[in-house]
Every structure is written in C-alpha cells, then in structure tokens.
Amino acid sequence: MSNGLMQLLDPEAIVLGSDASTNEEIIRILAGRLEALGYVKGSYADAVVRRESTIPTGLPLERADNVAVPHTDPEHVLKPGIALGTLKHPVTFANMEDPDEMLPVGFVFLLAINDKDKQIEALQSVVATIQDPQALDGLRSARTLDDVRAVLG
C-alpha cells in the first residue's frame, strides 16, 4: 500500500523497535531527532511532554498496540515534519477522548505542525495509516528503513 506518508517522514526521524518504557521517553527520543534535524525549537520536547500530561493523544484502535499522535502549539515548530517511533514493548498513553483511560501504544507519530491549511495532506496520510491495520502490522515488524518504505510507499 502507498499513502504518501513516506514522503513526509524524514528518514532520520524514524526510530524502529525502541526500548523506551514510558511515553515521555519515546516523545523525547523522537523530539530530539526533530530538533537535531531543524524541524522544531529546543522548547518543543518539554512542550509536547507537558501537553501530553494534560491533553493526551492516545487513539484507541481496539488493538494490543494502539497509536499516539503527540504534538503541541505551533510556536515551538520551525518547519512541518513528522517523526515515527515503533516500540518493542507498548508504552502507556492516555486516551485523547477519555483521559482517564490508559492505552497500550506501540506506534508514535510525533507531529510538528505550524499551519493547518498547508498540512492537511500530511495529517490525512497519518490518519490513513492509523486506520490501516495491515500498515500498522507491517510497521510493527519493520526493522529497516526499506521495510518502512515497503509498508508506506
């Protein structure tokens, strides 16, 4: 399948099979990549972690490994980008719609967004991937960038 997400993901911002054991740890790993690559300011990681604790981003997909889409306000973003992390063992994120519910999350799409009107396609590609169980299964077993490319085209 090909949904265009690969064109929007910076290969340097893809972390496969991370050992991270908390949502903060995987957010900081991915945010560090986006910062090193010039997508976000130094303030971004703290801002995302803070926001995740009050307005969480876990999405319940009725799977053992759900998805989270952490992000924050545009003032911390320099240019739009997306980082992807897959987790060796799911970490806990709270449910976006019901923050009292904890979800095991195996896939994290960290979004750097600063202009909603220009990043619609990027958001749609992420949503299409989230809604595609086969793509998520493929990402879970992906160990190389080529594996990811084969899944996301």
């Binding site: 307005i55 319940p60 600063n114 958001l123 809604q131």
Partner: protein, 95 residues
C-alpha cells in the same frame, strides 16, 4: 433552503486533529449533499465560541458548561464507528 449551519471543530491545539476531522466530515457530508460553515478552535476556547455555532465536533473532552450539542469526533481518526458519527452529524445538519 435552510440557513447554512456552522460546525465548530475542536481539539487540543485547534490545528492538528481538528483539521483532519474537519476535512473528513466536509468530504463525507458533501457526498450526502450537505455543506456547512466550519470553524476550528482549541478545546479551551469552545465555551467562548459555542454561542455562535450550531454544534461542536471534538476529539478531546469539552467543558460541561457548553450547552450546544457536542459530537465525539475521534472516530474520524481511528476509523472505528465512523458511520454512526456521520449519521449523528447529518441529523444535526438537517435539523
């Protein structure tokens, strides 16, 4: 023809998931022959904006002080239960 209704799409930042939901709802309602005015806002801004819209579609919890109908929009991100939510939105637009 009835007055065009206004939907307020809300999420944590007002630019990320509410954008994805706005686009999905706009496309699906077009298929059902329905158009509407769309606004987007942060969930925290909804109480101040609710009076000027017909109803709200939100991916995050909205303050209980809001008296306008609030429809849960997470289905447009997860894909689960989307048809039921689309029917709810259609019913609100046809009111």
């Amino acid at each position: 023809m009835a007055r065009q209704k206004t939907i307020l799409f809300a999420c944590g930042t007002g630019i990320a998931t509410s954008t994805a939901v706005n686009v999905a709802v706009t496309e699906e309602m077009k298929k059902r022959g329905l158009t509407f005015n769309a606004q987007q806002a942060k969930a925290t801004e909804v109480p101040g904006l609710a009076d000027s819209v017909d109803f709200i579609v939100a991916t995050t919890p909205i303050s209980a002080s809001v008296t306008k109908p609030v429809i849960k929009g997470l289905a447009f991100l997860t894909g689960i239960g989307k048809d039921k939510v689309l029917d709810e939105i259609e019913a609100q637009l046809r009111k």
